[in-house]
Assembly symmetry: C2
Homo-oligomer: 294 residues x 2
């Protein structure tokens, strides 16, 4: 069992840290918000005064922060004080450029590092069933895997530094696009005399099949567990989908790639969020397309 | 066993009619193209001089024609001469307005009718494994089902008159959108250092999962049976996807529904077709997004 520093104890970080404690690790945590620290303490995390104090003496440092600038700033702050061989795992969802910068800070100090953003949301974080998409050397990945397992349903090594972030934004761009596509089809069906169930029955077993339809159906009825059945309470908030689509657009523009539907999806989620629905589940965009929300 | 008129013996109609002959039905066929008639004759179809002659004395009339105007014109031509009780099945993929007009022509003569467009392509037509999406009364559907079975893998009753066409265009709009979304993600992945296989491994078991990715993957490798592995030989030609997306846009505009990604997908397939790739498989649009085709 290891001493693990966990920096960033929000809605995701807190339950993730709790699962590391349950697995028998000694977890030293830090967050800027006192209420997050209080929760962490209740979960058995040893609360520290700042990020450097949390990282001191740790064999593994895990960060779970809102954006690339936070990760780079924390790495610049703590990496000089880490002991030799400390493994750095960043599970934040951030831009690829910042992810590579963070890897560079670790590499210059001779430390192994991986980017390992997750999918699965707060439910997956609590249940310890997150999917980790990891980027970094095979050696760093091999070192990281046992520490990810207590928080994970699945851990995938996607490639070199930044590949975890790349996999997450590419996957979520497909997700955002397919959700809008499915939502458009349901709204069209409504207006041309095709029931939700009939469209579901045809498309779910045909070439229109997709996770957005068959697992996360954006209209109530066909998939009882989907957020549409609980008034679009998230789930996966529209604001987070917008964040991921913006990261994809940043990466596409930096790489000179045209992603016309990805760009349009980002615009539509910006519109939906701007209409006051940033906190609704992202599948709720069907209501905007229908003209149900203003 | 029944006498069935089959009007429209092209790439789809001919193998469909052949499967009805194999099932023991007596099939009277007509097509405007002499070479289609020659093929039909080889398949055991009794070739007639025109549509009215083919329909004469038939208990069932099946049409498989390019567009709504052809179906309406054939119905106007043949319906007055049909005997009482003749069942009309239109398997063409056409606009909903024309489909309802055709139902109306049948109804005014007191005849049962269904619209029953198919998916599955020429391969499914030859193998007798098409999916039929049917619209019409429960009585008409019940009458039609045994005649569809020899051509079908699956027959779904989608609702009243026009619901079969509605299901097909809604499904195929999801398909066109999700294919472009998947293609954009692969092209983005290529430029940001994520391998095709890594993206496939993550997305195929995650929220990006869709038929366009897991059955019909638009890049060679991950799904060996997909058209990407045979230089985008169709399969399902881009021209046919464009036709279906245009039908969806017509229906959306007539109904006053906004389908922004459906509209964009239609534009992108129009561009791809205009660049000379109408005959390529629709998954080949990945090459345009990558900048591989001019």
């Amino acid at each position: 069992m290891a001493t693990i520093a966990f920096i960033g104890l929000g809605n995701m970080g807190n339950p993730m840290a709790a699962n590391l404690v349950k697995a028998g690790h000694s977890v030293q945590g830090f967050d800027l918000m006192p209420e997050n620290l209080a929760k962490a303490r209740d979960n058995g995390v040893t609360v520290m005064a700042n990020a450097s104090a949390a990282a001191k003496g740790a064999e593994v440092v895990i960060t779970m922060l809102p954006a690339g600038k936070h990760v780079v700033s924390v790495y610049e702050d703590i990496v000089p004080g880490l002991k030799d061989g400390t493994l750095l795992i960043d599970s934040s969802t951030i831009d690829i450029e910042s992810a590579r910068k963070a890897h560079g800070i670790a590499a210059r100090r001779g430390l192994p590092s991986i980017d390992a953003p997750v999918s699965g949301g707060t439910g997956g974080a609590a249940a310890g069933t997150l999917t980790f998409m990891a980027g970094g050397s095979a050696e760093a990945f091999a070192k990281a895997e046992p520490f990810l397992q207590p928080m994970a349903g699945r851990v995938v090594h996607c490639g070199e530094a930044g590949a975890g972030q790349a996999a997450k934004i590419c996957n979520n761009m497909i997700l955002g696009i397919s959700m809008i596509g499915v939502a458009e089809a349901f709204v069209l069906a409504e207006k041309i005399g095709l029931s939700h169930q009939a469209l579901f029955d045809v498309a779910s077993t045909s070439s229109g099949q997709c996770w957005s339809l068959t697992t996360y159906c954006p209209v109530p009825g066909p998939v009882p567990s989907s957020p549409a059945n609980r008034d679009y309470k998230p789930g996966f908030a529209a604001a987070l989908m917008l964040k991921d689509l913006k990261l994809a657009q940043e990466a596409a523009q930096a790489a000179g790639v045209a992603t016309p539907l990805g760009a349009q999806a980002a615009q539509l989620y910006a519109l939906f969020s701007g209409l006051g629905h940033a906190g609704a589940d992202f599948s709720g965009i069907v209501r905007m397309l229908r003209g149900d929300v203003g």
